[in-house]
Symmetry: C2
């Protein structure tokens, strides 16, 4: 094989420095989840196609990666039957790669319902796969990081998710704004503007307001079959200004005649009161144009934006009243959010917010100046590690310059030079590679010296 090997388009390798950053993000998020009593689960990469198909719309079905049956997949297929490409695929593929973590979670809850304690609070951090056209920032394999509680319709759960978002981004030192809306308010709006059947059209259009502006949204609403009168009802809602309380009171007046709309207003009122009581310091904003284009939300809708960095939403979620119904377990209300690891990584990198000490390189590299000298270093290095100090012995007797470079490239701050003299004196010469300063230390002194670094 002469050609340099490559990986499938839309997929990525993560090298050491990216992994350190990603682990920092995941570890921070996981630790916060645990503080709120969420438990980790993992599900298989492959699910039965019957579990996945029909859950993400037609477009989603098309974007599923299908896995060929093992063994003689094509035997018994009669190609003269004039089957469509899709029909063949379903005959030779019984499994697919998961497309998100939500459907596998629903499947998990139904399958294991008798083992679980409800309300069940779980988090899950695993890759998902989508056969999307790869482009900048859109990958065919990426991690999702979901936290959900299922089996409770209390708004305390919504509050908890707001608290979790705040704690995560406080720890990551990212300033964010949390936007909240409620699906029932949008339903109410569709009702009072006279187009209850056009809820999806309305949400799809208004969700774009940040990107395309109010005029373009109006045009799209017209195009989607709404009349001028309806738009005259919707537009002022999208343009509502003021504090959250002012917005709530205004929308309550507007939706007064819609039962579902007023239920949404009540939920929002309660949630914002809880948020107020919890002493949330993060900016939480009622955004009546927030729709996230998703059909399965039935209550709260969340979105989180970074304030100091230009990027799409870094976190989003909402409440869904009947997630597990599709698998035969009705009336399980759940609410959850998903952290966008790739975008959060870009934010931290862009704002230089990765702490310097997450590099997690070794503290010291023992030089290798020959077999005897290296053997001398072995127990010294072992004693450092027992004291919790990461270190390495350069494995080959290479030129010292090369060993220096190795330490430099890996970000190792100290070099322990051990030649014949040091061996004779049971000591090491410890060199600080940044300052150039060096010091002859007895072996018994080196642990103490490096512990204080």
């Amino acid at each position: 094989m002469a050609k340099k090997p490559s990986i499938p388009k839309g997929t990525r390798d993560f090298g050491p420095s990216e992994m350190v950053g990603r682990d920092y993000i995941f570890d921070t998020i996981k630790d916060v989840f645990k503080h709120y009593g969420y438990q980790c689960i993992e599900t298989p990469a492959m699910e039965n196609l019957s579990t996945l198909l029909g859950k993400y719309g037609e477009e989603g079905d098309r974007l599923l990666f299908k896995v060929l049956n093992s063994g003689d997949a094509f035997s018994g297929i009669d190609f003269n039957e004039d089957l469509s490409s899709n029909a063949i695929a379903l005959k030779v593929c019984e499994k697919g790669l998961r497309y998100d973590l939500t459907v596998p979670f629903a499947r998990y809850v139904v399958q294991h319902q008798n083992e679980l304690t409800f309300p069940f609070k779980r988090y899950q951090i695993q890759p998902v796969w989508r056969a999307d056209r790869p482009q900048r920032g859109r990958y065919r394999e990426f991690y999702q990081c979901d936290v959900d509680v299922i089996g409770s319709d209390s708004l305390l759960n919504e509050l908890e998710l707001v608290q979790i978002v705040e704690m995560v981004f406080n720890r990551l030192k990212v300033n964010v704004c949390i936007k909240i809306n409620n699906r029932k308010i949008l339903s109410g709006l569709a009702q009072i503007c006279g187009h209850p059947d056009k809820l999806i059209d309305i949400t799809v259009a208004i969700d774009k307001i940040d990107k395309i502006g109010i005029e373009a949204v109006e045009a799209e609403l017209l195009e989607r079959g709404l009349d001028r009168e309806a738009i005259a009802v919707i537009k002022p809602v999208l343009l509502l200004e003021g504090t959250n309380s002012e917005k709530i009171e205004r929308i309550a007046q507007i939706l007064a005649s819609s039962e579902i709309g007023m239920k949404g207003v009540e939920e929002i009122r309660t949630l914002f009161a809880l948020i107020e009581g919890a002493g949330i310091g993060t900016n939480v904003e009622l955004d009546l144009s927030l729709a996230r284009g998703l059909n399965y939300y039935t209550g709260a809708i969340f979105e989180v934006k970074a304030l100091d960095f230009e990027i799409g939403s870094i976190c989003g979620g909402g409440r869904y009243d009947d997630l597990t119904g599709i698998f035969g377990l009705p009336n399980m209300s759940g609410v959850g959010i998903s952290f966008g690891a790739d975008r959060i990584y870009d934010v931290l990198k862009g704002l230089e917010l990765f702490p310097a000490d997450v590099a997690s390189a070794s503290v010291v590299l023992f030089s290798n100046m020959g077999e005897k000298e290296a053997a001398f270093c072995v127990p010294v290095a072992a004693s450092l590690r027992r004291a919790g100090i990461a270190c390495e012995i350069y494995p080959d007797n290479a030129r010292l310059r090369k060993q220096f470079e190795y330490a430099d490239k890996k970000g190792i701050p100290y070099l322990a030079i051990v030649g014949a003299n040091e061996v004779a004196e049971n000591s090491v010469t410890l060199k600080n590679l940044a300052s150039g300063e060096q010091q002859l230390l007895k072996v018994s002194e080196i642990v103490e010296k490096l512990k204080s670094v």
Copy 2:
């Protein structure tokens, strides 16, 4: 969908308690790897089939999970061409799921050779997929946990792997025996018994000695075309007893006339001297029957067994002299080992070695006795979390008995009961669920009280 949903055979869901155990194992292993300067990488689940095919033998090719091309995979395929099932598969599948972490690692090293610092020390913990017939203890998706150093042929690397194994199992409190052999010794043995061409047959047969005994191995060697004279040379080697040094001296005599054999003896002699000098406390044994049935090892071969639990090897590896040659980068010697996470989990579970405190449940559950009472708990819970104490508020105003059960099932040791009285007195009643003891505490006292738990 009336039928309870399921997952593909040979795959698994990991629930909260399994995940806690698995994380404990992976965190322990990762921390040890880092103490030795190994860095984490991740590669995509899907590799190009051209990367994977031909690397695992014919059987391996058959066991690859192939991923159907996205889009109209079957258009343009002329089924009248009378193609074999395999030939069709290769036309409609360009990608496959990784079968192990070694080939993706080799591909990674070649693809990123200009960005890497050699010797490159990496670890990688990710799932792999094999279309094997599922059976007890054999899965179609399982994690591998590999640590390798590439670009150095120093035996200090072999020593380091032995040290890593020792540190990992010391921390996990598992008593193990590390078995070591050297491929060159096996080559020498094939040479001096007069069958240098039968090295693979010999290794495959003698590798089974633990399972089938010496007589059956003899029978298999005969069957594989060795003669009685050859077996008379091999058998005493397999039965060698004594200390490691005694075995080394004996095998040195036997292999005296084989150049490659003596090279293996020299490597083993050096490695055991290094192990001696490093003060390894674990039982390390030269096992001349150890072959691991694998063709790509060229030097050291490792295997780790648990001493107090009946199970196959829990860790294994070896040196390979030309791993990246298949991808066009020759002469990169590497050595690595792989930890068997599933078996290690079984050992820890079987011997009850999971520490009690890894359960990582919340410390306290705040009862929910109504909206007002729950709202009162919100800032109290927030202050606990700020102090690093994991806690939950039961989200629904359910019967107290149900809330008790929730705490009990999740292993939460304390219940904080907050009714109207507690709210009036700005306090909580903290109940130890194990002892039944309860105590009325001021809100200001609860952090201190639970910090000391």
